[in-house]
Chain length 320, copies 2
C-alpha cells in the first residue's frame, strides 16, 4: 500500500465544514466574523507518551483528545485538525483501529480532519487542532489575580495510576482497574466547560503535566503565588486507598489528567458552579491566589503540607 | 536543559502579528475579513527526508520552506507556523543552528513561529503553516481545463542531483556542486509567484515528489490528461551533462524541487509571463491539457518520448 492509497483508505472521510479538506496542497477554513483562530499542536512519541502495546483505537482517540484539551483550556470551540503520522510500516489492522478511534473522537467533538502528511519512520503522531473563539474572550494563563479562587474539574490522578496499572506496578480491583485505564487511555477534553467559563475564569490551563506543574504555569504567567489545600484536590476512591507517596504523586504531579485548572474571582463562585453543572462536570475549589511567587500546598487546617520523603512533585519534563 | 528552558531559549522570539504567540495552551490568530485560512503540514524524518549529517541550519531553513511551498501552491500568503520537534537529546549547538536557519526562513517570508511542542524521541520535525488567501481565490489542483497550457517555474532536477552529490554518487565541478547542494538544502518557496497567479492559474501544485507524480495529481483531480514535451522542461546546465537515465530521473521524478507546476488558459500566456517577471522567476510552458486521463511525455517533434530502459518516473512514495 502506497502513501496515497493509505491516506485515501484511512484518512479521507469527507469534511462537511471546511471549505477544502484532505487532498490538496492546503486545507481551507473560513473563520466566522468576530472570531479568532486558536491553534495548538502536540507530538506523541512511542515509549514517551504512550506504551508500545497500547490499543491503536485508544491511541487514535487520545491523540486527538489531548489536543482538543488545549482548545478547551482557551475556551475555544473545535473546528478542524491536521494529522502528521510517521509509521514504521503500513500495518492495515493498526491503521484501521487507529483511524476508527481518531474519527470517534473527531465526531464526538465535531472536529474534522482536513489534511496531513504520512511518512515511514519511527512511530510519531503529530496533530494540530484549529478552533474558533470570539474576539477577546480566549482565557489565557496570565490573568489570575490576587484573591481569585483556584478550581479544578473532575478528579485528578487516575490516569497516572492507570499508567502504573498498565506497567504492572499497581493492581486494582476490576471496576477500579477499568476506571483507571479509561482515565489514561480515553481522556475527555472539557470543551463545554471551557467554553462556559469564558468571561468567568481569569486564567485557565489543562492539566497534562500534573497539577503542580501546570498550575505553576498560571502562577508564573500571572506573576502571583498560589496556595492549595491538598485535601481539597478531588481524587477517585481507588486513588485514595493507594500508599501516600504514590497517591500524592499521582494526584499532584502524575499528569495526563486533561482536566481544567482555572482561577476565578470569589464573587463568581455561583457562576462557576453553574458552568460546571451545565457542562456536567464536577468542580472543586482547591485554593486561592495570593501576592508573591510560587505554589504552596497546605493541610485543610492551613498548615504547610508535610510530603513523605521522596515525593516527586516536579511534573513531567520531556528532557528532565 | 528542560523542555521549557529549551523552548524559552531557542523558540520564543516575540511574535508581532499573532494575537498570542508561544507560551499558552493555544496560539491566537486573527484572519482578515474576506479571507480564508490555508493550512498545510509536513513531517520530516531523519534518513527519509534529510540525511543524518545535514547541517542543522540548512535543515531549519528547509523544514519551514517546504511547508511554505504548499502555501505558495494555493496562492496563499504566509502568516504563522507551529513547530513540533522530537529530539534524541537537547544538543545546544544543534538547536542554536537549527533555530537560526528556521528563523532565517521565517523572517525572509514574514511567517512567525506562534507555538509548538518539544519532546524527546527519534529526530522528527513537524511544521504546520498558516496562511491567508482572499475568499474564492485559492488555486486548487482540480481546475485544469482541456486546452490549458502546462507551466513550471525555475529549473527542475537540481535538488535530486544534489542529493546524489551529498551521497557521494555524483561528483560535480565546484560551482555546479554548490548550486546543486543549494537546490537540495535551501529551496525557495515561490510565494510571490503563487500569489501573482491567483485568477490566472486554473490549477497549481508544488513539485515535491517529482514533476511526473505531482502533475499527475493535477490531472487526476481535474479528470484530464496531460502531454509534456521533455525537452521543454527547464534544467540546469550541469544537469544537462549527466547520463541520460539519471538526468531524466532527476528532471521528471527526483522531486524536492519546490517549484510550482500550474495550468492556465492559452489566452493568458502574457499574464502568466508578467506574473513570472514580477516575481523574478523564469517560467516555461512545457505542455498542454487534453481530454482523457494520464500523462504522456513526447519529444519536441511530438512523438512519444523513448525513455532509456530502467528509467524510474514513479516519483517519491513514502511507503513504496
Amino acid at each position: 500500500m502506497g502513501e496515497f492509497d493509505l491516506i485515501e483508505r484511512y484518512f479521507s472521510r469527507p469534511s462537511k465544514r471546511a471549505a477544502l479538506g484532505v487532498g490538496d496542497d492546503c486545507a481551507l477554513l473560513a473563520i466566522r466574523p468576530g472570531h479568532e483562530l486558536a491553534i495548538s499542536t502536540d507530538m506523541l512519541v512511542c515509549g514517551r507518551h504512550f506504551l508500545s502495546d497500547v490499543a491503536p483505537a485508544a491511541l487514535g482517540w487520545k491523540s486527538l483528545a489531548v489536543n482538543l484539551s488545549d482548545l478547551a483550556a482557551m475556551g475555544a470551540e473545535p473546528m478542524a485538525f491536521t494529522l502528521a503520522l510517521a509509521l514504521p510500516a503500513a500495518d492495515e489492522d493498526w491503521l484501521e483501529a487507529f483511524s476508527d478511534g481518531l474519527y470517534d473522537c473527531a465526531a464526538r467533538y465535531a472536529c474534522e480532519l482536513v489534511g496531513g502528511d504520512t511518512t515511514s519512520g519511527p512511530l510519531n503522531i503529530c496533530i494540530a487542532v484549529y478552533g474558533e473563539v470570539p474576539l477577546r474572550t480566549a482565557v489565557r494563563r496570565a490573568g489570575a489575580k490576587v484573591g481569585d479562587d483556584i478550581w479544578v474539574s473532575g478528579e485528578l490522578g487516575s490516569a497516572a495510576l492507570g499508567l502504573r496499572v498498565r506497567q504492572g506496578a499497581v493492581v486494582l480491583p476490576d471496576e477500579a482497574h477499568q476506571q483507571a485505564i479509561n482515565a489514561l487511555e480515553r481522556p475527555i477534553p472539557r470543551l463545554a466547560l471551557g467554553r462556559d467559563l469564558r468571561g468567568i475564569a481569569t486564567a485557565m490551563i489543562d492539566i497534562s503535566d500534573g497539577l503542580a506543574s501546570d498550575l505553576g504555569h498560571i502562577l508564573a504567567a500571572s506573576r502571583v503565588a498560589g496556595r492549595v489545600s491538598v485535601d481539597a484536590v478531588p481524587q477517585s476512591q481507588f486513588l485514595s486507598r493507594q500508599p501516600e507517596a504514590l497517591r500524592l504523586y499521582c494526584l499532584l504531579a502524575g499528569g495526563d489528567d486533561y482536566e481544567l485548572c482555572f482561577t476565578a474571582p470569589p464573587d463568581l463562585q455561583e457562576a462557576v458552579q453553574r458552568a460546571g453543572r451545565e457542562a456536567g462536570v464536577a468542580l472543586a475549589r482547591i485554593g486561592m491566589i495570593e501576592a508573591g511567587r510560587g505554589l504552596e500546598f497546605e493541610n485543610s487546617g492551613g498548615t504547610p503540607y508535610r510530603f513523605p520523603t521522596g515525593t516527586n512533585l516536579g511534573g513531567f519534563d520531556h528532557f528532565g
